[in-house]
């Protein structure tokens, strides 16, 4: 009994130490990336390659997600609001929710799954096949060559994709509410425009930007510090996606309060 308790406590201690170590490592990697940005010239060709892989190739997934999230949310809001005769409030509700929460969170969760997984898998495979060591042996610093272009491409792509997701989500909310569910189109647009301000859009895009940083740094950290072997690449990739997704959801709570106070009064 006591031995089992000891084992449980030791395991909990190891996990806590591991989590604290990983958090420190992720913070140090972010600092290192920023230092490399200041110290080395940016490799624009690699940034452009990553922009294509992250930004262009993620469009379909992100747009599809945005479209269906907007459509489903509009339908659910309509079903509730119609009971109290508030159909005309469906438009602004969908619009503000898409801008502030649904757009950035769903878009970046999808990016964590698609792009974060790809980053972690590629870098961990490179590490396990000595390609990172070969890079170092050839006199190239891996953080500068591999992490910085991915980080920059994510900083640019994540807010743009978030913007696309929320535009498509709002448009699909309109398509569900007006032609299908019979909400008055003129009221829908008028109320949407009246109650959706630049601060809502600003909060959404800022969240996309911040979530982009989280995905890039966590995925690169996991990729640079993988578990050994082929199975290790799989586990590392899974961990990168899970940790990025959790970090997005937890940080979203704090970003909501911080960004709300930063954008306060900016209509």
């Amino acid at each position: 009994m006591i031995r089992a308790l000891e084992h449980s406590l030791a395991a909990a201690g190891r996990r806590t130490l591991g989590a604290v170590g990983a958090a420190g490592g992720i913070t140090l990697l972010l600092a290192n990336i920023l230092r490399c940005l200041a110290r080395y010239p940016v490799r624009w060709k690699l940034v452009a390659q990553q922009l294509y892989l992250i930004g262009v190739k993620s469009q379909f997934v992100v747009l599809t997600t945005g479209a269906f999230v907007g459509a489903v949310f509009a339908a659910q809001v309509h079903f509730q609001f119609v009971r109290v005769g508030m159909q005309s409030a469906v438009g602004p509700t969908v619009s503000v929710a898409m801008c502030r929460e649904l757009g950035p969170v769903f878009c970046c969760l999808l990016l964590a799954g698609r792009v974060g997984a790809a980053m972690a898998a590629e870098l961990s495979s490179m590490k396990n096949t000595e390609q990172l060591d070969a890079l170092r042996a050839l006199g190239v610093y891996p953080v500068e060559y591999l992490a910085v272009p991915r980080f920059l491409a994510m900083l640019v792509s994540a807010p743009i994709l978030t913007g696309l997701a929320l535009v498509v989500g709002i448009a699909c909310g309109y398509l569900i509410s007006v032609p299908m569910l019979g909400v008055d189109g003129a009221y829908y647009w008028d109320n949407t425009i009246r109650f959706t301000g630049m601060r809502d859009v600003g909060i959404g895009l800022s969240k996309g930007f911040l979530f982009g940083i989280i995905i890039a740094v966590i995925s690169c950290y996991k990729g640079f510090n993988p578990q050994p072997g082929t199975a290790g690449v799989g586990r590392t990739t899974t961990e990168a996606v899970v940790i990025s997704s959790l970090a997005i959801l937890v940080s979203d709570f704090f970003f909501t309060f911080i960004l709300n106070s930063l954008f306060l009064g900016r209509a």
Partner: protein, 251 residues
């Protein structure tokens, strides 16, 4: 002749287990040194210290008069460009073609134009006997071809010192022999010093001017290939003749 590389009392423990226990070695310009020793005996760890991929617990690696062990990761980079390394599995960048892999070190140096780089890439592929494979991806090559491409990438910037980590492991005897001949030929042609880590005595005798046996974390024996093969030392004989004893048995 002056030493291009000097290793002084190098010590390293991994997971609390001492792997290198005070290695001393010096390599002269143009010399071919082969380090032999049992699997897991620290040969690859020693090579990784020379190129700064690992930092020692104690001791020094002095290359061209500079103590590499005292330098940080990024400060090592200019010196690393004078040290070529062939990794055990080639470590080719699998997202780049053969030509791009070879051009990579030259582009990173930034001293040559695109035309000169293309010329050097063709020349390097000719040297390793792979002309016309410029546009292939590493995944499309056989094991021996990968090794030769990796060798071409390592020597394309004409380093002063080449490190080879088990260059013939996993290759058939004919390909292994061609790699051995290539190592000797390249060393002479490009005036490089070579350090080759292997447990293959055929390769060792083919390549070496001097053979060093790493045993229990130290350079235990040094001699010419002829000397090491005729040595009366029981530890040397055991390795050279591949004799196992009851305590070596794998249960």
């Amino acid at each position: 002749m002056d030493a291009i590389l000097e290793i002084r009392d190098l010590r390293k423990a991994l997971n609390g287990h001492p792997v290198l226990r005070g290695v001393n070695l010096s390599v002269r310009a143009g010399e071919n040194v082969v380090i032999i020793g049992r699997s897991g005996g620290g040969k690859s760890v020693l090579l990784r210290h020379i190129t700064g991929l690992m930092q020692p617990d104690a001791g020094a690696v002095i290359f061209g008069g500079v103590n590499l062990s005292a330098l940080g990761e990024e400060a090592l980079n200019p010196y690393r460009r004078d040290i070529g390394m062939l990794f055990q599995n080639g470590a080719l960048f699998d997202s780049l073609t053969v030509g791009e892999n070879l051009a990579f070190p030259l582009r990173e140096r930034g001293a040559l134009g695109a035309r000169e780089i293309a010329h050097r890439v063709r020349e390097a592929l000719d040297i390793v006997g792979l002309p016309g494979h410029h546009d292939q991806l590493p995944a499309e090559l056989s094991g021996g071809m990968k090794k030769r491409v990796a060798l071409a990438r390592a020597i394309i910037s004409r380093p002063a010192l080449m490190l080879y980590d088990e260059p013939t492991t996993g290759l058939d005897p004919i390909v292994a022999d061609s790699i051995n001949k290539l190592i000797v030929r390249l060393g002479a042609r490009l005036h490089m010093s070579n350090i080759v880590v292997t447990h293959d005595m055929v390769s060792a005798c083919h390549i070496a001017d001097r053979v060093c046996q790493l045993h229990e974390g130290k350079i235990y024996y040094t001699g010419t290939p002829a000397e090491i093969q005729t040595s009366a030392d029981p530890v040397v004989q055991k390795f050279v003749k591949g004799i196992s004893e009851p305590q070596d048995a794998i249960v």
